[in-house]
Amino acid sequence: METLERTQARLSKKALYLRKLKRATHLLFYRRHRRPGVKGWELRKRLGSDYPKVIGLLDAYLEKLDLQVRTVFEGDPPSDKPTLEQLDRARFFITLRGGLTPKETKLSGWRIDDIAGLAIAISLIISKKGKASRDDVENMLRDKLPGWRVDINLDRYVRAGYLAQDENKQLYLDWRTRAEVDEKALVDLLMAVEGTKQQKS
């Protein structure tokens, strides 16, 4: 009798988490605000206080599909395990776990030039402590892109949320870069490039 009760309890717990998993999927996949993603406190409101556990389960499930739940904290990411308060203020997104192939990027409407330009702008800003003057970024982009596209591309990166610009024409990394770009991996990859791979012309 006792075993049956325990089994019933386990089954209802499983059903409960399955329901929460579905709800989390709906919340995270469908865009409901101007910006994609869901704030931690919204998840807590809809899923309950154990939402970090639900998100962990969803993340493990999405791994098979090459997707992941990415957490973007306000300010610098915590060095230790994040507190519930930090998680509440963070924003959660579904992103690709792996990378895209050049062919796949064409389908998403980004040209190789656009991606190279974005890589330059982000790398340059990271190397300058997260802030670089628009003139400096434009000068660097002019090296790789036709002059008439430099301004257009920079404006496009700003509109898409990758970069932000202040009234002094200083460029910063914006929310989409923090959500989509592994900044450390980008810098490491750039630094790891050897002379043989570099442009010959």
Partner: protein, 272 residues
């Protein structure tokens, strides 16, 4: 030894320089360690006993505030250098310059994990759509405002086009040659004629048409201009044969105003 007003003036200038320097570091992202804060604090300290007015104290406070911002930037600089993200900016620039666009894009794709999302219509946008729909006028009301006059379809004759001034009675080159012959006939022994004497006609419309055609006489090498700048006179000199000057001589545009006022003045002068 400098007098007190002189020292105040000197101090004022030095504080202003400190503010400008600190602001430049802050706004342009320069290396904050290029500012010797100790040295500048000593300057602020040196001139502080001289200040008396509110403006002077405000300037002093502004300088101290700016220096505090520089110290904050120095702190951030140090903490950034200690993070794993720190890389020498010059090294990064060097790498970026040397890499091809394709290599840069491929490299970036390994660090880029785009957001996956599904777009859907929200209740807010549905309400907006209903509001828009309700504010629209019925179709028949909208169409009455935009429809034009109904006309029968049919072919227009050449005479009708000439009447409507869509098509000229003569072919363009034919008309040009007629004007050229007229020009050659009108010039006397001097082989030239004043511009207004040639283009001027009884009506302003005809004058405009002649001025327009004359510009083609010049462009196509049937005639040329002789401009007397001091007298402000322009003569037209016809050629015996059309000359093609394209590529042989640098062409110069001569703007000639043929306004209604000028035409009226010319006409009055002619009748006098």
């Amino acid at each position: 030894m400098s007098s007190r007003p002189q020292k105040k003036k000197q101090g004022n200038e030095r504080l202003q320089r400190i503010i400008d320097l600190s602001r430049a570091v802050e706004e342009r992202g320069l290396d904050p360690f290029q500012v010797d804060v100790d040295d500048l604090i000593a300057v602020v300290h040196e001139y502080f006993p001289e200040w008396e007015t509110i403006d002077e104290f405000s300037l002093d406070a502004e300088a101290v505030n700016r220096l505090a911002s520089v110290i904050k930037l120095q702190g951030e600089w140090v903490s950034h250098r200690s993070t794993s993200l720190y890389t020498d900016p010059f090294l990064v620039e060097e790498k970026l310059r040397k890499l091809s666009r394709e290599s840069l894009a491929r490299l970036f794709l390994n660090a880029w994990h785009p957001i996956v999302e599904l777009e859907q219509i929200s209740s807010y946008s549905l309400i907006e759509a209903v509001k828009y729909w309700q504010s629209l006028l019925p179709l028949d009301e909208r169409w009455t405002k935009t429809t034009g006059l109904k006309t029968e379809l049919g072919a227009a004759s050449r005479d009708e086009l000439i009447m409507q001034r869509i098509m000229s009675e003569k072919a363009f080159t034919e008309e040009l040659e007629v004007l050229w012959r007229e020009l050659r006939g009108k010039v006397g022994e001097s082989q030239k004629i004043l511009y207004w004497e040639f283009v001027g006609a009884d009506t302003y419309e005809e004058t405009s048409r002649r001025a327009y055609m004359t510009s083609f006489l010049i462009t196509y090498g049937y005639a040329t201009f002789e401009v007397h700048r001091l007298e402000e006179e322009i003569y037209i000199i016809p050629f015996d044969k059309p000359r093609s000057l394209v590529g042989k001589k640098q062409s110069v545009s001569v703007p000639v105003s043929v306004s209604y006022e000028e035409w009226r003045r010319w006409r009055e002068h002619k009748h006098d």
